[in-house]
Symmetry: C2
Subunit: 105 residues, 2 copies
Amino acid sequence: MGEIVSLRRTPDPAAPVERTEPLWRELVGGELRGRRLERGERLVDVAQRAGVSPQYLSEVERGLKDPSSEMLAAVAGALDLTVRELSTRAARGGFSAGSALCLAA
Amino acid sequence: MGEIVSLRRTPDPAAPVERTEPLWRELVGGELRGRRLERGERLVDVAQRAGVSPQYLSEVERGLKDPSSEMLAAVAGALDLTVRELSTRAARGGFSAGSALCLAA
DNA sequence: ACGCCGTTCCGCTCAGAGCAGAACGCTCAA
DNA sequence: TTGAGCGTTCTGCTCTGAGCGGAACGGCGT
């Protein structure tokens, strides 16, 4: 704890690194990819319909970026989901980008 | 449509303004406030436990800011919720900050 | 009057959202 | 073997807005 850590947007939880639960962006990212794959769609097509770049959508799906609420709505819309439906599926789906990646077969 | 609108983080949906569905930040913000009030807690106490400023938590609850995933986890934790629980409640709760504010009695 | 609470306003720093171009790695078909 | 298609990673970039602190405001109760 002797370090000065600039934590601007990533607050230091009580246990700094040991995170047993996925972050929101990991949950929602995993669900977006799961949904896209179960619909058999390509990343570039969904990205185009949502109005985002393919690189960026790739990062969002992998839980690397926190999309704005409008972006989230656009991507959800491109997958024929409402934000509510997406949230529900993200919360209870088996998909979670990042270290705890579960693939429901 | 003659305007040049700089849309960096707020993509222009097909219908630019007519939004019938709340954004994620509105859903989650409403749920956070609902949860806090049903626990009878003050904004400053939750903010302190979560490690954020009261002004900022006020804005988050009112759906004015998109919190990072870590922030969301911290605030959820301060209200004894997991991110999954929060997502589920946000998706199906009657709380939504912003224009479509419903108070479940 | 005062205190408490939440909200708004203002100004600020700088983290990171989101992008484009290029390169990489993998799979599959010819 | 090569080449195409796909997704991912890397790099560098612009500039938005996250998140803050201080101050002021408004509502409510004593």
